[in-house]
C-alpha cells in the first residue's frame, strides 16, 4: 500500500483545500459579518420553530417541545412565557403580552392577561383546516400584512407515514395518488398544500394551492407575499413563489380542495394542463447547489443597519450552514430574479429555520434539528454587520441582451471586464410527475448548455458590468460562476455563484 500522503498528493491537497479556503476567507464577507451564538437556557431542547421580536425588544421564540420563551437581549435572561404546544413552527409578536403561534392543531393566540409575564389565555385563532394526523402535516407562519390579515401555510402529508384512525376535517381519498401514492406527498384533508388567509373577522380563506412543504412565508417591502417551497415529486428543485390569490404553484395534491377542480384525480391529470395552470417560481434554488430545503424568506427592512441589501430577501437553508440572498425584479409584470449564498459557515450552524431582525439590525437565526432528517445542532445565533461593506453582487438584472451585474462597491476594471471571470451556463428542471423509481430528492438538470459571453462593459460609475450574450431563453436558470473579481479598493468578491431564474425575457 502506498503511503497516505505523497508529496504530489499533498500539493494537490493544498490545491483543493487550502486555496479555496483562503480565497473564501479573503472574500470580505468574513470581515463584514460575524456570527454569534446565543446562550440557551440550560435544559431546553432548543429546536427552534419560530422567532420574532416583541415591541419592547425582547426576543420571543417557540420550540419543538412546546415552550414559548422570551429572551431579554440586555440581561440575557430567558423566561418562560407559555408551554404545552405541539410542534409550533412559527410565532408572531402581537404586543409585549401577546403572541400568535402556529402549532399542529391550530393557530393559537397566547396572552398574558394578568401581567405576570406568563401566559394564561390560549385562544383558538383558527382551526378551520384538516389534520389527518400524519406526522408531516407541519404548519408554517403566520405573517401579517399591513391590513392585519394573517397568512400561514399547510404542509402536505408524507407517504413516509399514514393517517390516524380519527381525523379532523372531511377525508378525500383523491388527494392521494392511487397508483404511486405510497411515494408522493398527499392532501386528504382540507387545504393541505395551501396558503391560508385569516381575515380580521375570524374567517379562514384558502387562497393559493400547489405547495408541498412551504416552510416559510414573508413579505417584501411593498407587501408582496413570498413563500419558499421545498422541492418535490413534481417541482424538482426548491422554489420561491410570489403568492397571489387563486394561483396554483405546481404540486397537484392540493387541487382536490379547489372548487373548480371538481373532484378529479389531480395526480393523473395531463401534465400540460397542470403546467398551464401553474404559476412558476420567481426564483428557483438549484438542488444540491443553492439549497435543498429553503426556509423562511425575510426582507431586509433595516435601512442599512444590516449592510447594503436593504429591500432584498434573505432565505434560510435547513440543509447546511447557509443563508441565501434573493434579489428580485419585475419583468413582463411578474417577479423573477436571482439567488446567491449570502453567508456560508463563519461558525453558523446548519438547519437555519427561522429569521428575524432585532431592533439593532442584527439578523437572528433559529435552528432546528428534528426527526433525524433535519440535521445539525439546534439553537439560536445572530449575524452582525460590522459596518465594513462586503464586496458582493448587489443585483443581477436581466437586459434584452444579457445581464447587468451591479456590485456593492466600485469594481477593479481589469478583473471586472475580463470575460474569463464570467462562466455562464443554463439549464432547466422539468415539471413532471417524478418517476416512481427516482429518489424524492433527485433533481435532474436538463438541456445543460454553456453560454458564451460575447462582451462585457463597465458602467461609468464603475459599479455595473453589462454582460452580453446570444439566445437567452425563457424557462431556464442562468447559473453564473464569477472569477476573482476585485473591488477598486482591492477586496475580493465574496460569493461567486449566482443563479438567475429567467421566466420571461426583457423586451
Amino acid at each position: 500500500m502506498k503511503s497516505i500522503i505523497s508529496t504530489r498528493s499533498l500539493s494537490l491537497f493544498l490545491c483543493f483545500f487550502i486555496l479555496p479556503f483562503m480565497s473564501y476567507a479573503q472574500g470580505n464577507v468574513s470581515e463584514s459579518y460575524r456570527v454569534e451564538t446565543i446562550e440557551m437556557l440550560k435544559g431546553l431542547a432548543a429546536q427552534t420553530g419560530g422567532i420574532d421580536f416583541l415591541p419592547d425588544g425582547r426576543l420571543v421564540a417557540c420550540f419543538v417541545r412546546g415552550e414559548v420563551m422570551t429572551y431579554n437581549l440586555k440581561t440575557k435572561e430567558w423566561k418562560l412565557f407559555a408551554e404545552g404546544l405541539q410542534l409550533p413552527l412559527g410565532i408572531l409578536a402581537v404586543s409585549n403580552s401577546e403572541v400568535l403561534a402556529m402549532q399542529l392543531s391550530n393557530l393559537i393566540r397566547i396572552k398574558d392577561t394578568d401581567g405576570d409575564d406568563h401566559a394564561d389565555l390560549y385562544e383558538n385563532a383558527t382551526s378551520d383546516f384538516g389534520i389527518s394526523g400524519n406526522y408531516h402535516e407541519f404548519n408554517y407562519g403566520p405573517v401579517r400584512d399591513k391590513a392585519g390579515n394573517l397568512f400561514f401555510a399547510l404542509n402536505c402529508a408524507s407517504s413516509g407515514g399514514g393517517v390516524r384512525a380519527v381525523v379532523r376535517g372531511e377525508l378525500n381519498k383523491l388527494g392521494r395518488d392511487g397508483i404511486d401514492g405510497h411515494k408522493e406527498m398527499f392532501s386528504v384533508v382540507p387545504y393541505r398544500g395551501w396558503v391560508m388567509e385569516l381575515t380580521p373577522d375570524g374567517k379562514l380563506h384558502p387562497i393559493a394551492s400547489g405547495f408541498r412543504s412551504p416552510n416559510g412565508l414573508g413579505f417584501d417591502l411593498e407587501g408582496n407575499l413570498f413563500v419558499a417551497d421545498n422541492q418535490s415529486d413534481w417541482v424538482p428543485t426548491s422554489s420561491l413563489y410570489h403568492v397571489r390569490k387563486d394561483h396554483f404553484y405546481g404540486h397537484p395534491a392540493s387541487l382536490v380542495w379547489k372548487k373548480e377542480w371538481k373532484n378529479r384525480d389531480p395526480f393523473n391529470a395531463p401534465i400540460t394542463e397542470l403546467d398551464k395552470m401553474r404559476t412558476r417560481a420567481a426564483v428557483l434554488f438549484p438542488q444540491g447547489i443553492m439549497a435543498n430545503s429553503p426556509s423562511q424568506p425575510l426582507v431586509d427592512m433595516t435601512n442599512g443597519k444590516f449592510g447594503p441589501f436593504s429591500g432584498q430577501l434573505f432565505v434560510g437553508e435547513i440543509n447546511r450552514d447557509r443563508i441565501l440572498r434573493v434579489m428580485l425584479e419585475k419583468v413582463g409584470g411578474e417577479f423573477q430574479g436571482a439567488c446567491i449564498p449570502f453567508i456560508d459557515g463563519h461558525g453558523m450552524r446548519i438547519a437555519n429555520n427561522r429569521l428575524a431582525f432585532a431592533p439593532d439590525g442584527s439578523l437572528w437565526i433559529g435552528q432546528i434539528s428534528f426527526g433525524g432528517w433535519v440535521g445539525g445542532e439546534s439553537g439560536i445565533q445572530r449575524i452582525i454587520f460590522t459596518g465594513d461593506t462586503p464586496m458582493e453582487v448587489y443585483t443581477m438584472s436581466l437586459t434584452p441582451k444579457g445581464f447587468d451585474l451591479t456590485f456593492t462597491e466600485g469594481v477593479d476594471t481589469e478583473t471586472a471586464i475580463n470575460p474569463v471571470n464570467y462562466n455562464l451556463r443554463c439549464y432547466r428542471y422539468e415539471y413532471k410527475k417524478k418517476d416512481i423509481e427516482e429518489g424524492v430528492d433527485v433533481a435532474t438538470q436538463v438541456d445543460v448548455q454553456a453560454v458564451p459571453i460575447i462582451s462585457t462593459n463597465l458602467s461609468k460609475d464603475g459599479r455595473k458590468v453589462s454582460l452580453i450574450m446570444n439566445g437567452l431563453k425563457p424557462g431556464f436558470i442562468y447559473e453564473l460562476k464569477l472569477g476573482d473579481i476585485k473591488s477598486a479598493a482591492g477586496k475580493l468578491l465574496g460569493n461567486k455563484l449566482i443563479c438567475y431564474t429567467l421566466n420571461k425575457l426583457r423586451t
Binding site: S9, F13, G43, A45, G375
Partner: protein, 402 residues
C-alpha cells in the same frame, strides 16, 4: 488533476454501475469496483484473494446508516455494499481518520459541480467511495483496509446529510470495540440504540426533565394520542391523575391514573408516533355527545375557542350551537376520580348532561339537578354553573388491593 492521480492509481476499474463516471474516481488509489448489485449480494472482485470481508450497509429513511460502526483487521480485503432502502439519494465516502467534516465541507464547496460529481470532492482525504445510490439500488466498493490501525469515518456527502449520516470503520487487530455509549466517533443518537439490552436499561432509568423548568401538575401538552382526534390536549393533574380533552370534538375523551405521557417518539418526529399513556385508563367517554341544550335537543354543533389557565388548571372554552360553555377538570382529593366544573353563563333553557352508558365502573355525583336514566337534567339557572363528580370504582378497588 484526475489524470495525475490516475497515474498513481493504475488499478482503477470503472464498471457498468457508474457509466461515464470513471474519471471522477481517479483519485481512489486502491482497486475499486462499482457494481449495481441486488441487495445483500457480495462479490469478491479479484481472483485469487482468499478472504473478503463483506459489509452490507443500508441507508435508512431517517438519514442514518443502519450499520453505524464495524471493524476489520488491518490489511484485510473488504467489500462494502451500500443498499439504499430510503427514499433519498445517498453516497458513502470513507475518509482518512479525523477527516469527515473536512470532506463534508469540501463536498459542499463543489457548489454547482456537486451534482455531476456525485458530491465526491477531489481529495486525498477521501480513501474510497461509493457514488450516489438511488433508492432501491445498491452499489459496492472493494478495497484493502489500511495496514495502519485507526478510526476511519464513513459519511454521506449529499448536501446536508454529512452532519448526521455517518459511521465509522475501526481498523484494528483487537476483537472488541469501545463501549458504544461512549463512542464519540458515531452520531450521538446512535450511542445506545443498537442493543436491546441497552434500550431496556435506558427505559428503567429516570427520565430527565424534558423542559428547563420544574413540571408541577397541573400542566398540559397538545398531542397526537390514540383514542382522540389529532387535536387532542392531555392534562396532567395532581394526585397522579390525567385526562385527554379533545379540542377537535370539544369533549373529554378519557382519563387515567399513574404516570402521565411518554412523549419521546412524538418529540423525535417518528413517523406516525403518538404520545403514550403511562397509566391505567379508568374512564372513556362513549356518548354521542354529553351535553344537550333544550328539550329533546340533538347533538350540538361544537366550536373550540381555547382555554384559560385558572390556578394553572385549563378551563376549556367552546360553543355548542353558538352558546358559550366552559369546562374545568380537577382531581378528586382521594385520587379516585375527577371533578368536572361546567359553566354555561348564558344558559336560557334546560340543559342535559349524558353520563356514559351503564357499562362503565364510574359512580356519578351531582350536587345539583335531577339524574334519571343516565341523564342529568338541569334548569337554566342550575346550568349556569354545575359540577359532576366522577369516582372510579375500578380505581377504588385497585387501591384496596394494594
Amino acid at each position: 488533476m484526475t489524470q495525475l492521480m490516475g497515474t498513481e492509481s493504475p488499478d482503477i476499474n470503472a464498471l457498468p454501475g457508474s457509466p461515464g463516471r470513471s474519471g471522477l474516481f481517479g483519485f481512489n488509489r486502491l482497486s475499486l469496483v462499482l457494481l449495481a448489485l441486488p441487495p445483500v449480494m457480495f462479490i469478491s472482485c479479484q481472483e485469487g484473494v482468499s478472504t473478503t470481508v463483506s459489509v452490507s450497509i443500508k441507508a435508512r429513511v431517517d438519514l442514518q446508516y443502519d450499520v453505524v460502526r464495524f471493524k476489520v483487521k488491518p490489511g484485510s480485503k473488504v467489500t462494502l455494499t451500500l443498499n439504499n432502502t430510503s427514499d433519498m439519494n445517498h453516497n458513502l465516502l470513507i475518509t482518512k481518520p479525523g477527516a469527515r467534516l473536512d470532506v463534508v465541507n469540501s463536498a459542499m464547496k463543489l457548489a454547482e459541480k456537486g451534482p455531476q460529481m456525485d458530491y465526491i470532492p477531489n481529495s486525498d482525504a477521501v480513501l474510497w467511495s461509493i457514488p450516489i445510490v438511488s433508492p432501491g439500488q445498491a452499489k459496492s466498493v472493494t478495497f484493502t483496509a489500511p495496514t495502519q490501525s485507526g478510526v476511519y469515518p464513513y459519511v454521506c456527502t449529499y448536501p446536508g446529510h454529512g452532519f448526521i449520516m455517518y459511521g465509522v470503520m475501526y481498523v484494528t487487530p483487537d476483537s472488541t470495540l469501545p463501549d458504544i455509549r461512549n463512542d464519540l466517533n458515531i452520531p450521538e443518537s446512535r450511542r445506545q440504540d443498537d442493543s436491546v439490552k441497552e434500550r431496556k436499561d435506558a427505559r428503567t432509568q429516570a427520565v430527565p426533565n424534558p423542559h428547563p423548568y420544574a413540571l408541577i401538575p397541573p400542566y398540559l401538552y397538545h398531542v397526537f394520542i390514540e383514542g382522540a382526534s389529532p387535536a387532542a390536549i392531555a392534562v396532567h393533574l395532581p394526585n397522579d391523575l390525567s385526562y385527554c380533552w379533545d379540542a377537535g370534538t370539544c369533549r373529554l375523551r378519557f382519563a387515567w391514573k399513574g404516570g402521565f405521557l411518554d412523549m419521546s417518539d412524538l418529540w423525535k418526529g417518528h413517523f406516525d408516533a403518538s404520545a403514550k399513556v403511562l397509566g391505567d385508563i379508568f374512564f372513556r367517554e362513549n356518548t354521542d355527545y354529553p351535553i344537550r341544550l333544550g328539550e329533546n335537543a340533538t347533538v350540538p354543533i361544537v366550536q373550540y375557542k381555547g382555554y384559560r389557565l385558572v390556578e394553572r388548571y385549563p378551563e376549556f372554552h367552546y360553543t355548542l350551537n353558538g352558546i358559550d360553555v366552559y369546562e374545568l377538570i380537577r382531581p378528586k382529593s382521594d385520587s379516585m376520580g375527577i371533578i368536572r366544573v361546567f359553566r354555561i353563563p348564558h344558559a336560557d333553557r334546560k340543559v342535559w348532561f349524558f353520563a356514559n352508558r351503564q357499562d362503565d365502573a364510574i359512580e356519578y355525583e351531582f350536587p345539583a339537578g335531577h339524574f334519571k336514566d343516565r341523564k342529568l337534567e338541569l334548569s337554566a339557572v342550575e346550568a349556569k354553573a354545575f359540577t359532576i363528580i366522577m369516582t372510579s370504582y375500578y380505581l377504588a378497588y385497585k387501591n384496596k388491593e394494594q
